[in-house]
Symmetry: C2
Subunit: 354 residues, 2 copies
């Protein structure tokens, strides 16, 4: 395809095969991302709607329910007891990672489809139990990697798959934030028991998962370095740098930080060209994409697309069509396996084979 072809119809949903259908969703956990990104996204979505909110403070959720036209609000106990279970076909688990397993498996056992925030769980073993519960119940299990439905990332993947930059050689990716600018020092993100890890788990998973998606391959080994400074960053990795090796010797140099200037970028260098995307992980922003091939340098500023809406519609589309979900539980499981290996590598100072 000529380069123009990727940029025309930039926001196309290459995955969409049906035009109608509705999936009713219970949103479990009403933290910042659920309130500010997920609920508006589902409101704007084509194939799903929120019918139930599950919160530890149902009274606080009442206003939210009114704003988004949601009739039922449950506390966690009521959810566990199966209250209002006829009112939803699927759950979106947006609690901190340590609680994913309980709500995801409870929902699966009840025959509900599961969209679960990343990381899928605090560790690989818990994630395996989520995947198994969904498989046993025959329900969709999707890990909420919003980048997978982000048009710029999908177009970038098509370009690479079509050989537009030759064979991939090296990837550089990074995602950083100043965590304390947006939240207090007692955030669960800095509690390893609740979060499962630090910057790698929460932010590094973006370049990691996106690189795997873009290369359509899994790494064969990893080396990593972590650094933890003073409180409140002393219990998790504040900064992380990891280097993944993929089949054929392709490498990915990825970094993440909880305490650095907010930045996100991804560069895939190939034998015949390269593609760069600025701010791929930052959320609802207009990315700039640069494609270089030989002497040609093309800069493209894509429209801003709400990839969270795309993500929910993709999930609902999987539920409605029964088609394989490309961002399934196994995908989240694979990242956790890599993340655990990276932490191990940082600790023992050795390359860890995957």
């Amino acid at each position: 395809m000529a380069l123009d072809g990727y940029f025309e119809g930039f926001t196309r949903r290459d995955w969409q095969t049906i035009d109608e259908g509705q999936v009713e969703i219970a949103v479990i956990g009403l933290g910042g991302f659920a309130r500010e990104r997920a609920l508006p996204a589902i409101r704007d979505a084509e194939f799903c709607e929120v019918t139930v909110l599950v919160s530890g403070s149902p009274e606080k959720a009442a206003d939210l329910a009114t704003s988004f036209g949601v009739e039922r609000v449950l506390d966690y106990e009521a959810f566990r007891d199966g209250e209002a279970s006829d009112a939803y076909d699927a759950v979106y688990v947006a609690t901190p990672p340590a609680f994913h397993e309980e709500y995801a498996t409870t929902a699966a056992d009840r025959g509900k489809h599961v969209l679960c925030e990343k990381p899928l769980a605090v560790d690989h073993a818990a994630a395996e139990r989520i995947v198994a519960a969904c498989a046993d119940a025959g329900v969709v299990c999707m890990t909420a990697y919003r980048l997978r439905t982000e048009p710029a990332v999908r177009r970038m993947r098509e370009l690479i798959a079509d050989g537009a930059i030759g064979d991939p050689v090296q990837v550089h990716g990074g995602f950083s934030a100043r965590l304390l600018d947006d939240m207090s020092a007692d955030t669960w993100r800095l509690d390893p028991d609740v979060a499962g890890g630090g910057a790698l788990m929460d932010l590094g998973v973006y370049p990691l998962n996106t690189t795997r998606f873009l290369l359509d391959a899994d790494p064969t080994s990893v080396v990593a370095e972590t650094h933890s400074g003073e409180a409140p960053f002393d219990r998790v990795d504040e900064h992380v740098a990891l280097q993944l090796t993929f089949p054929g010797g392709v490498t990915a140099s990825c970094t993440a930080s909880f305490d650095a200037h907010p930045d996100s970028r991804l560069q895939v260098l190939g034998t015949d060209g390269q593609v760069l995307i600025t701010d791929p992980f930052g959320g609802d922003v207009s990315q700039e994409i640069v494609v270089e091939r030989g002497d040609t340098h093309t800069r493209y500023a894509g429209p801003s697309v709400d990839e969270v809406r795309e993500e929910f519609d993709y999930f609902a589309h999987c539920v409605l069509t029964g088609e394989d979900c490309e961002t399934d539980g196994e995908d989240g499981l694979t990242d956790l396996r890599i993340i655990e290996a990276a932490y191990e590598s940082a600790e023992i100072g050795e390359r860890v084979e995957l």
Copy 2:
């Protein structure tokens, strides 16, 4: 300093303390870089001139001598024998790395100052002998890191030292070329005995050395992965990815490739901002510099400056003033120590402490 202050007088020579003086240089080895970059640079330089050319094919060098107004052309034997040694104060050693030691030490023993191409030698031991010979003779020993006198890199370093981006956290750097586009498969760069290594030695040393310069620090450990494909890339590292750890947990993720789309870039992410430079290593090009601090994004396209001319003037300036050379032999030695550790890490799959 306000950001503007760095960009005004962008090309200033912060190192210059004198206004006149001339150093006579013998250029040893007349490969592509010497012919196309070094000779024109010295012709344009303020503090030096070429008085002798040393070549394996003196008859072929005759035209070059005429073009650049150089009176004496020697073959290597005549140089070793000390012919015309009154005609030069210093040598520029531009042979392949395996021959650096012989010519650099011969010149030093003769009391001549030495500017030696990078890598300083094929291994750390040979580089130590060069440094020792220069120290014994009391002559200047400079490693030819042209980036050290490149204005954009110097301004970037000042910005970082002044805390304009807070504390550095993570560096990403890369340098790639399609070697066979410019040279034949029998180039010495693919012969480990002559080059001392592959992409890391020839290209990776740029992000490595420049990162050390920008951070004003040396790494404490390194992990690396190398990949060698089919002939002619089978005897050296065709691709390399390395991850350096500096004091305070700062990391640098660097890559280099002999067989990828030509690209060079460097990004230093700090706690309060970041600075990026596109094409820092590509030679005589106009770099684009981006400085981000908080919500401010400043993009600056600097004038194209011949950093090779700057490099020769800096060397001559050190000779004339007797001031310490900041790109001395020890600096080249340190890089070789790191490069050897990186190769060891790639082989044994372990972090190597430095």
